[in-house]
Symmetry: C2
């Protein structure tokens, strides 16, 4: 096999993913929708979601054109690289946006069909929900690898450039992905929580407005939000990590160019550069394979089926990676005085796979019902909202411990085995099974929606019981997914960080140098201010939503009695506009600061990258896990718990306290926390893109 | 003047401070106590405070002996330095403990006398409260400079060592100060909030128990806590910063030894080493001078008087420093290829003075009643506890922005003017007016106590009005003081960090090196886990307190009716034991981690120091300011505010929501947040002390 064949095979795995996703989507489409009321509710949700995407994409197009022009202009001196980096950027943005569009479209179809399937059996409901998630997962990896692989082939064959320049230009793809991720994750996060918090609080501000009731005009926006934030947002987040980790590794692979050891390697000096692409392609096939094992019998635990699929895929990937790496790389080579072996690279990949799994499991421990931390928060709710909040903050803080140590050891381990290239390829290893990982993630909000539809459509209790069973598992998988997303963002950012240092020709990031230390400090501060902006945005948007709900109840006669219909569209519009308006400032912060600092002093930008990554990872874990733990503490109390011999359940004072915790946690775990994943990657990508200009 | 005369003059300024503090303490003692009930209450508080100190010191003595032995043993190979570093450590611990003892003793006398003076006039009440604070402030700086100066003279005259070794041995003094600070700040923080939260929540758990009422057995413990945490804890915190900054500068001053430029300087090659001592000595005299300007007329604003004293002292110090520095240092000298000037060193001192003031003022903006941030939280309380909490978290996050930028610019500025020595001496500049700064700080809890006593002793409303006026100002000064404490801790830690690098012979802290990056990550995580431990400790201790309060109300007949007396002592004992028990684990964490990492890899310890400092400063600012803002948002609502045309005041649902915020903020601002100051300094000091062993 020669390099031309191989680099064509890689995009083909992307095509396979998309084709398989397409058959799955067609299958979902063919399932029954159920009653007329169910169809009506699901249509409203689907239309709301599309309305958001339309609005978002309208702004996005302008944004993409402006940034593409800026990129072309800024690189104007660099021969024809200027328009090529702009094209990479546009293609990256397009692929990410398309993946989001497909994923959300299918999710808003799968939700009602999951509800309907739940009228028959748990197994068929799981099948529909998971299939919906799988379409999202495969679209992300398929479009990621197809876009990246095609660009690589095109640039490599069209230009007479050396390979370093080709890869440098491709980094624009990653910037495109990051830009969409910013819109989808930050904007989506603001959308979903503005609707959720607004719907919940309207009842507090105006008398007699039911919370969580179909008559509340914000409920549809709330359901739309689950799709916008948790499906499309998470998808864009992992799309960014996925392509970022691959590009970071490709850049670092150029350090091995012209080494004599690679002249006889499977694909010559390109071997270490195309290796991440090949691993990602293999991961796609493994993900599809894993998806066949996701099944559950009536009365069984859906978690088990998902675990078999996910861990099975990871295990199979671990085996496959061995054969790929030992086949593609020479047994060992020497660079900068130290020896790297193919086995070392393989160990780095294994470290990445293992670290992702461990961080996910630790996240689950800190946020799952029944485990010590969440039980502690539930017990502390008896003495009121304040102790509930204090306990949740404590859990969030504690939960940073093990993941940080795992990351630290992974970094040392991957570097020891394969240098900087090892750190980057560990991220690729972690993300290689993103296809099925994201399927399991996206399954959660689909099941959540399915439950909401069952409630709104007044279906019999056994349906709700089945969807609740799916949803409870969905909370756990969401927690694991969030841990995975943060861990992969950290490793990806570090890979990009190393790539930036190489491209910008920064020899070291010595924090004993005061300028770099100042960069470190400012970088560490950004996640705080960025989070504050995101939380403030949710607060303002929720306030608008509350006012609108109050207006509708005051002005629409018969709404309270259930004889007139609420104006859902208006609420969807408010959330949409607020989300898009409010994400501008944090977005600018994430782009302007690294560019400004970079042109002041490139080493200071290095310090900034280190600061924002370290501080961002910790603050994200803290916020996400505190939020997840509060949510499940509330769920535990709703299920009934015993504290000091007294039964505590729904409607008690302790329950009210736990609702406060849940509401506080909402923006932390769904808006500001996950937005930090984007912040740290986006800043790293921006640094990488401007690296040749400040080198 | 020769060096011998000068180094004797330095400790003499310490003696002057102590003598002046003694006359002030005598004067306070001579003031009237007031009614019998007032005397009884104040005696209970004073006895409770002494009980805590007795228990604490009992544990401390064992701790000090063990650590001193370990120090002597670990340094056994290094000639006679082993027992000298142990002696430095014991003297440092003793001086800090003695300062805490004096300060707390006087504070528990000044509180009731302030109440009594408030029966006559505002001016005389301010005078008593401020005098109480001044005794604490002058004891801290007096014992700090006396201890440090005496050790320097003793070692310098007794041994045949070179000056570098003398200074290395003196770093044990700083470790002693840090150890006491850990006990006083962390233990004190746990004590004060266990009592406070416990007293407040008892009413929620058991029916019919009055919150904030003299019949509640935890109220005395609550008042003791103000003295333990806010007076002794803050004192130990600043004592640690004060001596840490001086020692860090002395260590860095040794880099200039044997430079030809210093042979003709005022005190030869010792000039840059004794400069921080001289500046600190001058700061003592300036602080005493400033204290004369603290006055208020009846009906006037006490804030004005305090500002005149504090800013006046800082201004005078700025002038005096010019003469001291240009007299003591040569006009310029060359080290490592770059030129440092006396004026450059002076500018670094000015930067430190200015940075401390700016950080304090920014802190005030984010936490003061009537300003935008706190008003925002108050307004958000209308929609319940959740939005109050979210708003407060947002304010805490935002508030990290400007202080971080100020710190970053100060670091760059001080370094540009005078290298690493400049960063360290900027910290000395910031801390030179600690005497009056701490007096203004400690005035707050004394006034707070005075108000509590007025309430409990059922004095007429105009007395409470006057103490409230003092207390309101005290909240602002407390906020400024906290900002100052964090800022100075950061600069001190950086000074110690630079000193560590020099002593341990670490050439750089390149975070592109994975081992160092891993250290950075783990360091950044420590403040989270440390904070979680501190908050968990408060939770557990408060739970014990709640049980005890419930028991007393159940078992003591007549307590509810007010005919029987509560067993205050038992509550004081619970807080005391819990505080001492619970501080062991976080304390161990702060000592064991740097030692373990240091012996694994000294550069990794460098990364750890950078991580813990950066992350700790941000997390401390976030926690302290969120807590301060919640507290004052509650106070604003209690004073009555208008939201959307409706009047919101005490007893409303919004007020209840703001109480939740205040309770959540309590452990953040008084336990975990301030404890981080100690964490970052203690880890840096431990690193400095073990530096010669791992060099």
């Amino acid at each position: 096999m020669n390099i031309a064949t191989l680099t064509i095979l890689v995009p083909i795995t992307g095509v396979i993913a998309l084709l398989y996703a397409w058959t799955k989507a067609r299958w979902i489409n063919k399932q029954e929708v159920g009653t007329d009321l169910m169809a009506e509710i699901s249509t409203a949700i689907a239309e709301g979601a599309r309305a958001f995407l339309r609005q978002e994409y309208r702004v996005l197009i302008i944004f993409v054109i402006v940034v593409a022009a800026l990129l072309a202009f800024a690189n104007a001196g660099q021969a024809n690289s200027s328009w090529m980096i702009a094209i990479s950027f546009v293609v990256g943005a397009f692929c990410s946006a398309l993946a989001g569009f497909i994923g959300m479209n299918v999710a808003t179809k799968a939700n009602v069909r999951t509800t309907n399937a739940a009228r028959t059996s748990l197994g068929s409901a799981l099948n529909v929900a998971f299939s919906g998630g799988l379409v999202m997962g495969l679209s992300v990896v398929g479009l990621g690898i197809l876009g990246l692989g095609s660009l690589f082939i095109a640039y490599d064959s069209m230009t007479a450039w050396d390979i370093s320049k080709v890869i440098s230009v491709i980094s624009g793809f990653s910037l495109g992905a990051s830009s969409i991720a910013l819109f989808a994750r930050v904007g989506g996060g603001i959308y979903t929580k503005a609707a959720d918090v607004g719907a919940d609080l309207a009842g507090k501000v105006y008398e007699g407005i039911p919370e969580d009731d179909p008559r509340n005009p914000a409920t549809i926006a709330d359901n739309v939000g689950d799709n916008v934030g948790d499906v499309a947002g998470m998808g864009a987040d992992l799309f960014e990590s996925y392509v970022g980790s691959i590009i970071g590794t490709m850049v670092l692979g150029t350090a091995f160019l012209q080494l004599s050891e690679f002249q006889t390697a499977a694909f010559g000096e390109l071997s270490p550069i195309v290796l991440p692409l090949v691993l990602a392609g293999a991961g796609i096939l493994v993900s599809i394979l894993g998806s066949f094992f996701v099944k559950v019998k009536e009365g069984g635990n859906p978690q088990h089926g998902l675990n078999v699929g996910e861990f099975g895929a990871a295990g199979f990937m671990a085996v496959l990676a061995y054969f790929i790496i030992t086949w593609m790389l020479p047994e060992s080579w020497v660079v900068g005085g130290s020896t790297i072996t193919a086995m070392g690279v393989y160990y780095a990949v294994l470290i990445g796979l293992a670290a992702g799994t461990i961080i996910g499991l630790v996240t689950e421990y800190y946020t799952a019902t029944g485990k010590g931390p969440v039980t502690g928060i539930a017990n502390q709710s008896v003495t009121g909202a304040a102790t509930n909040i204090i306990a949740g903050l404590g859990v969030g803080m504690y939960s940073t411990g093990i993941p940080t140590i795992v990351l630290a050891l992974s970094i040392i381990g991957a570097f020891t085995f394969a240098g900087m290239y090892g750190i980057a390829i560990a991220a690729v290893g972690m993300l290689s099974v993103t296809g099925i990982q994201l399927a399991v993630d996206a399954y959660g909000p689909i099941s959540d929606n399915a439950g909401g539809i069952a409630e709104m459509a007044k279906l019999p209790p056994e349906v709700r019981e089945r969807t609740d069973k799916l949803d409870a598992v969905g909370n756990t998988t969401a927690a694991i997914g969030k841990g995975f997303a943060i861990g992969s963002a950290a490793l990806t950012a570090l890979g990009l960080f190393a790539a930036f240092m190489q491209q910008a020709n920064v020899p070291n990031i010595d924090v004993a140098n005061p300028t770099i230390l100042a960069g470190l400090l400012i970088g560490a501060m950004l996640p705080y201010v960025f989070s504050a902006m995101a939380m403030g945005a949710v607060g303002r948007a929720a306030a608008e939503m509350i006012k609108e709900v109050g207006r509708q109840f005051a002005e629409i006669p018969g709404l309270r009695e259930g004889t007139a219909k609420a104006d859902h569209e208006r609420c969807v519009e408010i959330s949409t506009k607020a989300a898009i308006r409010e994400m501008v400032l944090p977005g600018l912060l994430a782009v302007v600061v690294p560019v400004a600092i970079g042109f002041i002093d490139k080493s200071m930008l290095g310090g900034l990258l280190a600061g924002v990554t370290v501080s961002g990872v910790l603050f994200a874990i803290f916020q996400s896990n505190a939020g997840g733990a509060w949510d499940n503490a509330k769920k535990m109390i709703e299920g009934g718990i015993m504290v000091d011999g007294k039964k505590i359940s729904k409607g008690s004072e302790a329950h009210k306290a736990s609702v406060v915790g849940d509401t506080v946690g909402d923006p932390l775990k769904d808006t500001s926390g996950p937005s930090l994943n984007i912040l740290i990657k986006l800043i790293a990508v921006v640094a990488l893109v401007i690296a040749p200009l400040i080198a």
